[in-house]
Symmetry: C2
Subunit: 690 residues, 2 copies
């Protein structure tokens, strides 16, 4: 049964990536917008793909319907996972007794334990193994910091309001839902119309508020709940605003990311690191985004835990000494080219991807490799994990390269980790706004003699000649590169004056010899001062955990075959509890033995639960499987016990004294279950118990 | 030198607790306000104590001044600690490059490591060892929750504004500063006046806004910075306010504590625990208080980490099965009686304190004991830790008993953990507001037959007789206790009517036989439904860490005697790094050996740093001492190394292979340094290195 399910799941995954490749075609279309002539051909292609998609979807539906073995389609699968998670308190909608608040969730006891395990492993895998400098900054952040970072001005979504009730909607969601509905469900529309809607879907992410508003009007889109008219779209800032101190005069926000706390501390951290590059700082903490209308359950929430790394590096040397440690790794990568040409993700070797320039540099490649190791060790299925490169129009203008670790879930491919080379943008922005130089320096072994271009505009003369335009002329003169400047110098010397184009004035002016002095000076330099580049791997911890739940969830029939039992196949590393201890029946002898084992488990640091309820061992196993507990010790004598492994349901007999150390070895990965299976006698009545 | 310093510090501590006992007299005075006749005598006593205080202070000053050995007074001591902490990036004022924001601090790398160690140990000591249910709720909290908890209405400080500039001040701080200044520095005031100011200091915490405003006016107190007139005091809510969602219609706050997240989840957690009491839930997370004017550095901040436990218990049975584990512990306790009678804290055995009723119940006593163990294992000096009971006027009306773990620091005795029996208050408040019953039940082994009083007012008759007063009469009738009701029944049966006092009407009315039926009915009850009591230990993690820094900080002279070196004597449990590894000189042989050791330390999970700078070993030890690293391995051969212990500066020689496991054993407490010292040859040239 497991195998059938497995194969169906795989099939689902393949179909989905086929559907996904159409999304890529859409992205490709967006990226090729500039080349208008190609757009019609592209739309044709898209139409064909859409048709194929609908065929694929029908096939998919038929596979699901025809398979009578209890396997689940995506929606139903998600519902099964979410029901189990909520019933066993992995999570709880926050403030439930007050009917909750959209986009806010609590972690209950097993959820907390999983989160704590994930964060411990993150700290081990990144901070400790890479000697990163951890910081912990407040969530409350004054406006000036987020003004410098660009969040105050640009961290927005476009919103429309129901003009009568005031209910708010994300403008792009309404347009997207409308067009998708038309394309997928309205059989009356013409091929031309269908093509138009598809075009809109392809390019809408780049719409200005005005363009988006015009489309909403054109299609007569109204408020979904009331059919009332909508306001024009306007940007809504996604930060939670507050005010610091009692006067109301210091505006502040709840941070939308943890990264800014690291950037503003760059100078101190650089000194702490002995003024050496590269080094990385890291932070784990809460971040806040006041989503307009949160969807997708645990994936799009208003408060979440981020773990972010800012790796500071010399822009002229982005090599990484430990790159060879990961360079042989192979995993699914989805470079820009493949997305543009409608292909799907492929297994690539990260070493080759860097060598070929597909990945911009070694440091970026190193982190991609480390992220792959981190996620797969947690239990993310490597077949449902890919690294997708941002298309040119997805990246900020300053970014050198960006890759997202995307994990496939029932919601599709979900961005869980972003790994971006953000160049010097952030440090420069804070240097400018704060006036504190956030720079590093390289001392030369020997002083270097450098020739420097010196352009000195004579402001007095320029002022007399250009009055109010003087500033524009000065700036243009100072902005000349070496070639331009030396040509001007030659002309001025030979002719006494020269025509000069001032781009900010959009015209030529006449520059005379007395208006500027241009020279080259030789200087000895002892050091190079520069703004470091930053490579930022940023982890959405809640998203990773949710995807992990989906990847680890499975069902199997009960012994009687009358019901499906849920199992979370968590690796011991993340399992909320490593071991349960069951006295077979309640008597003093077994109780004493249970105490001995419990004490020893505590002393070797293995978290465990004792279940003394009188229900059958089979029921107790089922309960423990649903929490993802990998090992169970059943106490049925005072000299030896059985240890049962969750996934195989195999059981071995081990002496009372050895039980804790065997569980500890296999839970901590010092031994595999195969080793245990080979070493200890098998428990014959295993099957009878379940 | 260490000994001298130690003795001076102890002396400081004693003097301070003497001064402190006057504070207790002040508290006692406050508590005795109702008994006005006693107040004069009390003020006399206070005056005497104040005189003694000034003598004590002068002696203290003279001790400090006369001791020429570099020991430090409180202010200077604090400055030395804080300088070291800031220089080594234990903490950083947040957003420093933008001139910071009062009351917000970052943890830098060693600070993060200490915090992470403290929280891990907290999780181990409380959550794992006590099988608590951990939850993790959002910081963003809708108003309705904090309305129910009372925070929206009552979580305020009284504030005044400079009427011209708008600058805000805490009203009580201004009055306190004024009176303290008068009493301590103004030699011209009469004894009567002095007594008055002292009286104000004693009782001001209970002033209404009007009383406080009247005092400020009476004394002509103006804005400290400008001397401008002040506004009347008005309550300022200390929560950071925000708005959830885009409409602006869901007001919210950043939570001021984590406890409410647990209370609103009570029902789910009770089910999760198999509907059994007692159980405890716990949460670690950020909390926010928008202080009017933060003082006291790291102790009074606007954002901080709380770790809170809510232990739910049957109000009729507050025993604790594990109480015997702590009952023999002895530590400084400061019961209400001792504070009222001006005595100081005394060593008491917690078992006896519970037996005598000094501590209200076993569960409260158990947590006091566990908190004592937690704090002292972290490295808090047990002589500078006391448990102070709240006076009657400090406790909320619903609280059964409260004890604060107070730690002595350079700022005086600081409340770091509050341990309160809050009765059923919180669960009842949320039950009422949400309409969801937050209750537990006890199933009787056998159904119990109970006789129940049934009072049925006949509303029609009462309405005819009392018209608009009917409701008051009905409520008074229903509120009768059994004795009153049975007396009324008898009178009605014998006389047909009876006089009845309705307290809300403040008069007697005549109740006739037809207006009410009173009976006793027998019922079988299968279970008892009740609201659990909650016992809440609440830990201010940042305050504990700061006090730990002060308790672990010391100085010792350098070998040359020309400077004082700083040492943080952290226990290995909390030390930010457990071990440093120093190759004596830079060569390939030592580098290889260093790599071997580093790899082994990693494999046994010991965090460590390699210091390959070329400076002298002595300098490297000094650097490492200032971070509180307990062990250093110096690599001076490829077969054996030295291990040096920070506090004793003792060194032993250990083979290369054994080094990591020795450090690991002693860092994890499996072996003491004495064991190591006894087992391995001593390194003879130890002294020469420093």
């Amino acid at each position: 049964m497991d195998a059938t399910e497995q194969s169906l799941r795989q099939s689902l995954s393949e179909k989905s990536s086929s559907v996904e490749s159409q999304g890529n075609a859409v992205r490709a279309l967006k990226a090729s917008r500039a080349a208008k002539p190609e757009i019609d051909a592209a739309i044709d292609l898209l139409n064909k793909l859409k048709l194929e998609k609908s065929t694929v979807e029908k096939q998919l539906q038929s596979i699901i319907t025809s398979s009578g073995n209890g396997s689940l389609n995506r929606e139903a699968f998600r519902q099964a996972v979410v029901n189990t998670l909520e019933r066993r308190l992995f999570y709880i909608p926050s403030f439930k007794i007050y009917r909750g608040v959209a986009g806010l969730f609590d972690y209950g006891p097993p959820g907390c334990a999983v989160k704590s395990n994930v964060l411990s492993f993150w700290r081990q895998h990144f901070i400790l193994e890479e000697n990163m400098l951890e910081v912990d900054c407040p969530c409350v952040t004054p406006e000036v910091v987020l003004k410098a970072s660009g969040h105050v001005d640009k961290f927005t979504d476009l919103m429309v309001k129901d003009e009568k009730t005031g209910t708010c909607y994300r403008a792009d969601h309404l347009l997207k839902d409308y067009c998708t509905d038309k394309v997928e469900k309205d059989l009356t529309i013409s091929a031309d119309k269908a093509a138009e809607f598809k075009d809109v879907l392809a390019v809408m992410e780049d719409y200005s508020p005005e363009e988006l508003g015009a489309k909403l009007k054109e299609y007569g889109i109204t408020a979904p709940d009331t059919k009332n008219p909508l306001s024009d779209p306007y940007p809504f800032n996604l930060m939670f605003q507050t005010s610091i101190g009692p006067s109301g005069l210091i505006p502040g926000y709840m941070r939308p990311e943890t990264a800014q706390g690291i950037f503003v501390n760059f100078k101190d951290l650089y000194y702490y690191n002995g003024r050496k590059l590269p080094f990385a700082a890291a932070q784990i903490g809460q971040a806040f985004r006041n989503e307009i209308s949160p969807r997708q359950g645990l994936l799009r929430v208003r408060e979440f835990t981020l773990a972010e790394i800012e790796h500071f590096v010399d822009p002229e040397n982005k090599s990484h000494p430990k790159f060879p440690d990961v360079s042989k790794l192979e995993f699914l990568m989805f470079p820009r080219e493949e997305q543009m040409s409608g292909q799907s993700a492929k297994k690539l070797c990260i070493g080759e991807a860097v060598a070929k320039g597909t990945v911009n540099n070694e440091t970026l490649g190193y982190f991609i490799g480390r992220v792959y190791l981190f996620l797969t060790r947690l239990g993310i299925d490597k077949e449902r994990l890919r690294f997708r490169q941002h298309l040119a129009n997805e990246m900020a203008h300053y970014a050198a390269d960006c890759w997202d670790a995307e994990i496939e879930s029932s919601y599709g491919w979900i961005e869980c980790v972003g790994i971006a080379d953000r160049s010097a943008y952030d440090l420069r922005a804070h240097s400018e706004k704060s006036g504190v130089a956030l720079v590093a320096e390289e001392k030369y072994a020997e002083p270097k003699e450098v020739e420097k271009l010196v352009i000195n505009p004579v402001k007095k003369e320029l002022g007399l000649a250009f009055k109010g335009n003087q500033k524009n002329v000065v700036e243009s003169l100072e902005a000349m590169n070496e070639k331009e400047a030396m040509e001007m110098k030659a002309s001025l010397e030979s002719k006494g004056e020269v025509e000069f184009y001032v781009c900010t004035l959009e015209k030529n002016v006449i520059i005379k010899k007395n208006m500027v002095s241009i020279s080259k000076e030789k200087k000895k330099e002892h050091r190079r001062v520069f703004t470091p580049s930053v490579i930022e791997p940023s982890f959405g911890i809640g998203r990773i955990i949710y995807c992990l739940y989906e990847h680890c969830f499975s069902t199997r029939p009960s012994k009687a075959g009358d019901e499906q039992l849920n199992v979370f196949r968590f690796p011991p590393l993340v399992a909320p509890i490593k071991c349960t201890v069951f006295p077979l029946v309640q008597n003093q002898q077994f109780e004493e033995a249970t105490k001995v084992i419990s004490k020893e488990l505590t002393s070797v640091g293995i978290s465990h639960k004792i279940d003394i309820t009188g229900t059958s061992i089979g029921k107790r196993y089922a309960r423990t499987d649903e929490l993802g507990v990998p090992f169970a010790i059943t106490v049925d004598s005072d000299t030896s016990v059985t240890i049962r492994e969750r996934d195989s349901k195999d059981q071995v007999r081990v002496s009372l004294e050895e039980a804790a150390s065997v569980v500890s070895s296999v839970a901590e990965g010092k031994m595999t279950w195969q080793d245990v299976w080979a070493r200890f006698p098998h428990h014959s009545s295993a099957a009878a118990d379940e």
